[in-house]
Subunit: 327 residues, 2 copies
């Protein structure tokens, strides 16, 4: 494996000159440059990023932390991150926390020990103190879930408003008993979406029925299915469901099918996120579209700006109600 020194010798120049052509500094004569380039080709030389990183004290790596890569909500965000990261000369290290604090600790150390230049954090279950402590020393941006105190920059959507619009849509199509399948309320998005649900009820002079509101642990299809099973066991079944994720909604839909009920005739259902599956269900799923790709690409821009020492502003992006067959 050739080094810069060997290239320099072969080309009959100094390592500094080689470094200059490598980094496209324009203070190199054309003749010299081509001599160097030939030596590079002859030796099949590839500059070691290890030396460069140490010298520049940077890794050009972005750490992206998600709870689970299997959750399709994150995949499009990651696309957005990756595209802009590459454009800016960064690569991403995608890591799953499994919402496991130990893993989280390992990954946080990756930025402490300079393996990564910054973190885009998408795990909502994170320990708040640890994050704040890390944010004190290192660039960090939260995407989707965030800390309301505003100490850490974030990009997200207006969850309260989105939920409000979702439930209002169900009310407008004439539904009376609207259930809520929600996550645990330790998550900000869960609290805000419940608030939106309640606001819609208030606005139409209705009172919420706590037995129609489920907070479930976990984020999988099966969890949504379980919640729906409980809901269907009630004396008076709901005639509509607002699920705070498409994944939950799809699980719920499955359960409704198994119970032999029809969607949307007997039960209307609305999800959240607009993951690609949501268009493959039968019937297709009404949902709130989050601008996931943009959320990712803006997160990447923000974290890179922070790494460069620039000031950045948190952002709330637009969402959109997508009406399809399930309502």
């Amino acid at each position: 494996m050739a080094t810069i020194l060997e290239v320099a010798k072969k080309a009959g120049v100094s390592v500094a000159t080689v470094s200059r052509v490598l980094n496209n500094r324009h203070q190199v004569r054309e003749v010299t440059r081509s001599k160097v380039e030939q030596a590079i080709i002859a030796l099949n030389y590839e500059p070691s990023v290890l030396g460069r990183n140490l010298r520049n004290s940077e890794s050009r790596l972005l750490l992206v932390l998600i709870p689970s890569i299997a959750n399709p909500f994150y995949t499009e965000i990651i696309n957005g991150i990756e595209d802009t990261a590459i454009k800016e000369g960064y690569n991403i290290m995608l890591c799953e926390t499994d919402s496991n604090p130990q893993r989280e600790a390992i990954y946080f150390n990756l930025v402490r020990n300079r393996m990564a230049d910054g973190i885009i954090l998408m795990d909502p279950t994170i320990n708040r103190n640890n994050v704040l402590q890390l944010a004190d020393q290192h660039p960090i941006v939260q995407c989707s879930e965030f800390d309301k105190d505003g100490l850490i920059s974030y990009v997200s959507i207006n969850n309260e408003l989105a939920a409000y619009q979702a439930v209002k849509h169900l009310i407008k199509i004439g539904r009376q008993r609207i259930a809520l399948i929600n996550s645990e309320e330790k998550f900000l998005y869960a609290r805000e979406r419940r608030a939106g649900y309640e606001r819609a009820f208030r606005e139409y002079g209705r009172s919420v029925n706590p037995s129609y509101m489920y907070n479930i642990k976990g984020l999988s299809f099966e969890n949504g299915q379980q919640a729906m099973r409980m809901l269907l066991e009630q004396q008076e079944k709901p005639d509509a469901v607002f699920a705070v994720s498409d994944v939950f909604a799809i699980g719920a839909l499955k359960e409704i099918h198994e119970a032999g009920l029809s969607v949307p005739d007997e039960i209307a259902i609305i999800g959240f996120d607009k993951i690609s599956f949501s268009n493959m269900t039968y019937p297709t799923l009404t949902t709130i579209a989050q601008p996931m790709y943009r959320m990712g690409s803006i997160s990447a821009e923000m974290i890179i700006a922070k790494i460069r020492g620039e000031k950045v502003e948190s952002r709330l992006l637009e969402h959109e109600l997508i009406i399809r067959e399930s309502t």
Copy 2:
């Protein structure tokens, strides 16, 4: 940001000693060790992996190349990779190629310039010559799709046999007109699965009907849906479909529903992979389960062994036919 030198000074020892306690070398007196440890805590010191990497000429990073993170087939494999990588002190850089040769080139360079110690390659569309050239110089393992010439280590399953069993299952439940929704045959798995499909036909003395065999571009739900649409336009509709991925099968299922046909009564359908969503469709999907987690974890073990300079053997793992409601 404290350096090893500052710690050494504070503890009144040399940097060598600090390095020794950092790396748990046992040739350090207990008193000295604790002096150093206190200094580390006092200074809130974190060793820089940049210096260490340069010195050791390794990055402890594994590059994982997949066509698309949105494809659920890969997500469980990645889980397997990540778990064993962490156990061995490696982290993974997950990168999407989008089956784009330019991106592929960027990522291949990551190992050439020592940003990553090795590659787990899962993109089937890769340029063969480039891979072979890279494999000549750097550790690389193929997962799932591989090169039959055996020049590069791989872990996969017996695709021909799996497809044969899938089709045999359809024959055994009495289906006469069994269609095949396949990928492009530039992929080895597509060729092998077709071979398995044909073997089952031969074994039962049937001849294949080319108009029931579709090779489609792309890997998305929509592609499966399109293929099914074509299939349903034939004078004599198929009464069963073998799709080479669950994603295709789910798209096909959607199209069958839209055509008002019932599954499995009018058309039986079998997928491939056993992604989690395959259990949430209506009806649930019969499929071939690939041992995705194990494929991932074995790939990781193999690449790490290679990095260490050990010899490794390619592996074909067991699959399993999972019969559910769609057949």
